[in-house]
Symmetry: C2
Subunit: 179 residues, 2 copies
DNA sequence: ACCTGAACACCGTTCAAGT
DNA sequence: ACCTGAACACCGTTCAAGT
């Protein structure tokens, strides 16, 4: 199998899902693909861009879309999209770090983040406020996932809620109430 | 000067503030202190605990307290504390990552985070909800700082607001409105 | 065009041995 | 008790040289 950008990124996604970010090194990736490390740099510019591509692979899926028509209010659609994102990222080790790298480099390529912004906009927020609201909600999603993943990693077996949904509802309520 | 836990942590804080997390390696730290790397491990268990201690040094300062009596409403005190935290962390490179390590390891030693929780509690939220609200606000602070720091790092010179304060006001409003 | 081999300049952690 | 010296098992990135 020839080495392509696609195979490199897909293998990276695999390593991330199976072993976490600590094991996703360029050298490990090269070993998995049975090539020398240097070969990777023909297909990806550097590790940062690779991680951005990994994030895009993780997020740009049909599962992480929401059909606004299926919801009574825009707020409900927003809630649902956020919950989907949270649940999708939770089982992927270190996903918040990966997404952060990507959204710093190129938020515009992460479809669910864009849809989140769109939903907020069509719910009545100005273009700028929709961007801010998207930030608030994304911060909460990634922060909650990171917090939760740290708990299991430190075998704090307290299976207590991380308060994600509670905080989400409060945040959305704050975004849509005028005062 | 004898090597102590205190000097190790203080020097680590120095390196972080001057050069960022990428330069804060155990080896660089040893060089700065003019000892061998191994010597550090007599004074700190590992790098993770060192970073937690660094975070505590950064946050546990009198500057980052708020006098509730000075504010008309608890919500105002919460707003002020969050803004103080945001402004304090912004100039410290990679501070969100450091704080996250620390709050995963030992939230209970970060005074401003505890005060934030306390303020929410005394504002009427249940003990549990105060914890959740603290999470929501901390997520927003750290997320906004990280976002802002990434912008300057990628020399995206757009000095556009990160919407921190806008999001903060919405979040606080959501926390204190009952619906 | 695509890949190898090898180098450069680093990491965190451990541990026998010294004082 | 505290530190050195040295090792172990890694990193990301670059680049002449091969095909």
């Amino acid at each position: 199998m020839a080495l392509t950008q696609l195979t490199v990124v897909d293998t990276a996604v695999d390593i991330l899902q199976q072993f976490g970010l600590a094991d996703l090194s360029m050298r490990r990736l090269a070993k998995e693909l049975e090539v020398q490390v240097g070969a990777l740099y023909w297909h990806v510019k550097n590790k940062q861009e690779l991680l951005a591509a990994v994030a895009a692979k993780l997020l740009n899926t049909e599962q992480l879309r929401v059909i606004p028509e299926n919801f009574a209010t825009p707020a409900d659609a927003v809630l649902q999209l956020c919950r989907k994102l949270y649940l999708a990222l939770l089982p992927i080790q270190d996903s918040p770090e990966v997404i952060e790298v990507a959204s710093a480099l190129q938020v515009e390529q992460l479809n669910p983040v864009l849809q989140l912004r769109d939903l907020l906009h069509s719910a009545g927020l100005s273009t700028e406020d929709a961007r801010f609201g998207q930030q608030l909600l994304l911060n909460h999603i990634l922060g909650s996932v990171a917090y939760r993943q740290n708990l299991v990693q430190l075998d704090v077996d307290a299976p207590q809620s991380d308060g994600f949904d509670w905080g989400l509802q409060r945040a959305v309520s704050g975004l849509f109430s005028r005062d």
